[in-house]
Symmetry: C2
Subunit: 352 residues, 2 copies
């Protein structure tokens, strides 16, 4: 019984413009002061597997080269390139089927590529408990202990407040409105759905056969004949694993995690995770900060060691890439999407 | 009697860091929304000469290539490369001697390379009046009608308030302190010394022979034997034309100029000269400005069309070059020198 990790790296998005572009989405960015988020993700789970050959990565066709570059230890044949994005379920079915073909006893941990975790040792302990639950025949998931009534996440309801060990989920809940989220957090019985799934390959394939047989057919065809991969993905339905499988299972094991989890959802979140100087600036050592407080300086230009000099300003986000610069108050970083809209309106889609 | 222009382009400086670097001083920068200041200078005086072959440029050895690049119309043999900087007098003596060797009747207009003038037609009229004075045997200069009690310029005192035509100067005055400058401007008899000189070559060579014969020897040697140029410049004294010649002349003709002159002495000065949008921003059209007021955005990176996106900030100077970024409130742009000092203290002289 070997453990495998599957990292889902299909994400795109514009919340981190100009850093996140169609060719360089969030998971490839070093947003928290370490390496690219996906590299940090792989490093974090390495102690759980026999070696990098047990780590698989699913990403979009256009991102394969850049993703391989970010994960040099992982063998090239472990990268799965989705010809078109079809949400998580077709992809998980495909990779699970492919791993099961090689190792029918495989236990699989599926993880998003672009999250940050402060307490990595505690996180691995959580995953080990989830593997225990999986060995008992359950498909397991991780429930993040909420730290605020966030309306940006799905929730998992439990019958009782969470314990350390896995418990059975009552139901999955879509993103709530504000007052519902507040009630969830107050109740102590709701956890955030962190998009992590832990299962034995055979159990997941059985669940797919039962609840989404079309996806099993697609996965089986894609694995048996890679020449049909493009056809399979262009015709398969686009659906999340939550909707296709998880919400239909009679029992899901949930392991709570209180490990300093963050989905690094904005420049503000990245700033909060960064190492600060005595005036609250997060900035590379190559920059020059004079009477500057609370600024977040991010240098993603290819030529390293750019001198970014900031004098007498406060609480700004400053991001440099090879062809763009962003300057915005940290408190307004949600408005980055307005820039993306302005560029789109000007017909400059190549800059998004 | 042909008219020649000599543009002095030996300047360096750090007030425009990161735009102005040792390899790219102020005169090579497009600080006022047009071309490089030196190109604007050449364009401005072109109607006064028979053609670009009458325009000469003196610059430092290291800057010759970049300066030629900024002035493609001017023949290569018209560029004079100073082996080492020796202030203005040795250079003016050298170029004047070289021009006189080819054309003993030459009339010469010497101009700084890095100033801006709003009313170019009026400025040319001023220079024509100065040429008239020079034809009468005077060495002439231009006196800028002061618009504020600036302590950063030298002044020229007149006997009476200036008239349109040339008058004889009473004396040259070094940079004054604040109260002296205020008294100067209040008197109406003081003009700024703009560093422009208009003369017949023979008159200047005679003046040099009388007041600085060592400089004439140096110039004669340099022109006769270019192989000795390096030796001549390494041994000649460093002295300004004001000190070596102008202050010693019995009579200097002064033509006043009220032409929107600026020495473009800071980012703030460059902002004031720039074309503003309705919210007072000076920025390239490739930038994206949302709820941004009074900002000055300068893109000097080699790859053109950089997207500089600025949201919700006011009165900042933002400068981009290939390896540096500056963000500073416009009101603090004098503090740019503190950045330069910080870089020097860190041993990063290559970034200055």
């Amino acid at each position: 019984m070997a453990t495998y990790v599957v990292i889902l790296a299909g994400g795109a998005g514009t919340r981190f413009w100009p850093a996140s572009r169609s060719e360089r989405p969030k998971q490839l960015l070093p947003l928290t002061g370490g390496g690219a988020l996906i590299a940090e993700t792989a490093k974090r789970v390495k102690p759980l597997v026999d070696g990098p050959h047990r780590i698989f990565v699913a990403t979009g066709k256009k991102l394969v080269d850049a993703t391989m570059h970010a994960l040099p230890e992982i063998p090239q044949q472990n990268f799965f390139a989705e010809p078109v994005a079809r949400n998580t379920a077709p992809c998980i079915a495909w990779v699970t089927k492919a791993i099961a073909e090689r190792d029918v006893t495989a236990e699989i941990i599926v993880l998003p590529s672009d999250h940050h975790i402060v307490d990595e040792e505690a996180f691995r302990a959580v995953l080990r408990r989830a593997l225990d639950a999986a060995r008992g025949g359950h498909i397991a998931t991780i429930g993040i202990v909420p730290t605020r009534p966030d309306t940006g996440f799905g929730y998992i309801e439990l019958e009782t407040p969470p314990k350390i060990e896995a418990v059975i989920a009552k139901r999955f809940v879509e993103k709530p409105d504000r007052s519902t989220a507040e009630a969830f957090v107050a109740s102590g019985r709701y956890l955030w759905n962190g998009g992590m799934f832990i299962y034995r390959a055979v159990d997941m394939l059985n669940a797919i056969a039962t609840h989404a047989p079309d996806l099993l057919t697609a996965a089986t065809t894609a694995v048996a004949d890679p020449g049909q991969l493009e056809y399979v993905f262009s015709t398969v339905r686009s659906v999340s694993i939550d909707v296709a499988i998880m919400e239909k299972l009679p029992e899901i094991a949930v392991v709570p995690a209180n490990v300093g989890w963050s989905d690094v959802g904005s420049w503000q979140a990245a700033y909060e995770l960064g190492a600060k100087d005595e005036l609250g600036n997060v900035a590379p050592t190559s920059s020059v900060l004079l009477e500057a407080k609370g600024n977040h300086v991010v240098d993603l230009s290819a030529r390293s060691g750019r001198t970014i000099a900031i004098v007498g300003v406060e609480d700004l986000v400053v991001v440099e890439t090879d062809d763009a610069t962003l300057i915005i108050p940290r408190s307004r970083c949600q408005d980055v999407r307005d820039i993306v809209e302005a560029l789109r309106a000007r017909g400059e889609a190549d800059k998004i």
